[in-house]
Assembly symmetry: C2
Homo-oligomer: 208 residues x 2
């Protein structure tokens, strides 16, 4: 196949990428074999090498892409000048929705980052994991007297933690609180949007 500048990839290449994403995100780098990917893509093992040369290179492609979708898109919420409470509500709602569509993403990213911390350096360029807009906004609200004087960095981490953890700990939590009942846990996650939005707002807003 002729590769133009636009680099239009063949259908086979696409199928491999899709299979790889599925398997890597679910089972991690070590837990996924090339054979496994080939089976799901319904192609031959060696085609993976033909298109991507090595397991590492294929993984990198998947990982960078996955990492970008893992970083909560916070900036866009700040475009309009709505009150901080609503900003937080939207960040939480959007992020939990995103994670519901990609349940295994958090555990995958966090595990691989713990195993290969060096890889982060590359990522910092690719994806913009930059919470600076959020931090400044919070700082401004504190100075306006709307928010209690919390450390914006801790607050940022708190919000992410509250959203992510139910997904990372799902197998455990679903069993403890719902005896393994999946729909019940999904419902619980949905309720969680309001619950933690309230939780955060009560924690940081100055009461009148």
């Amino acid at each position: 196949m002729v590769k133009n500048k636009a680099q239009i990839s063949s259908e086979t290449e696409q199928r491999i990428l899709e299979a790889a994403r599925q398997e890597f995100i679910r089972f991690g780098y070590d837990g996924t074999s090339i054979q496994q990917i080939a089976d799901i893509a319904h192609i031959n093992k060696s085609l993976v090498h033909y298109y991507f040369r090595s397991k590492d290179r294929l993984f990198d492609k998947i990982f960078v892409q996955a990492f970008q979708s893992f970083v909560p898109k916070i900036e866009e919420v700040f475009t309009s000048d709505i009150p901080i409470t609503e900003i937080i509500e939207r960040i939480i709602g959007n992020y939990i929705d995103l994670l519901k569509e990609n349940s295994f993403l958090p555990a995958f990213i966090l595990h691989e980052i713990n195993q290969h911390p060096d890889r982060i350096y590359e990522l910092m360029h690719a994806g913009r994991a930059n919470p600076v807009i959020f931090l400044k906004h919070i700082q401004a609200e504190i100075e306006k007297g709307v928010l209690r004087p919390v450390d914006p960095r801790h607050l940022f981490i708190n919000i992410i933690a509250l959203c992510l953890f139910p997904f990372i700990g799902r197998p455990l939590l679903q069993r403890i609180f719902f005896k393994g009942d999946q729909p019940a846990y999904d419902q619980f996650l949905e309720e969680r949007k309001k619950e933690i939005t309230q939780f955060v707002i009560q924690a940081i807003c100055i009461k009148i």
Copy 2:
């Protein structure tokens, strides 16, 4: 060696266990080889099989034990009848201290549980991952009018999430907020005790 009922294990066995714990917790099941464990224990590869028959059986021993130390010991804080705010402060302080001593424990447990959710069934008997005492206490405080009507399950998850996440996400967070500076991040974790204690208390206590 004669094995009495007390099952006194040889020094070699101990060294293998210690090496296995270290490596499994750091690199996970898939990321750890028997050779690796043998090297650290300064013994021969096949001795691992002699003492534990298989990698799986050795891993199980480590995992059950690690899981128990991963579960926050909440009950003991409830013995005395101190105010709920102080209970929460102690839970958070104790748990973060525990995790500081075992930085890799959360990522390890959560990863392995996501990869082998079935294993949880065995664990539920061994360790008591039972937050029921906490839940009831919270419920009682709500009815007394001390706390806002929050869902105790969410509150429980929130507290754990706030404590755990900085450890699971450490490589990422340390890089984003401190350019990789470890002592600075350790300091940050220490401050975090007070910060999230305040955060939680503000979130749930009814103001006077």
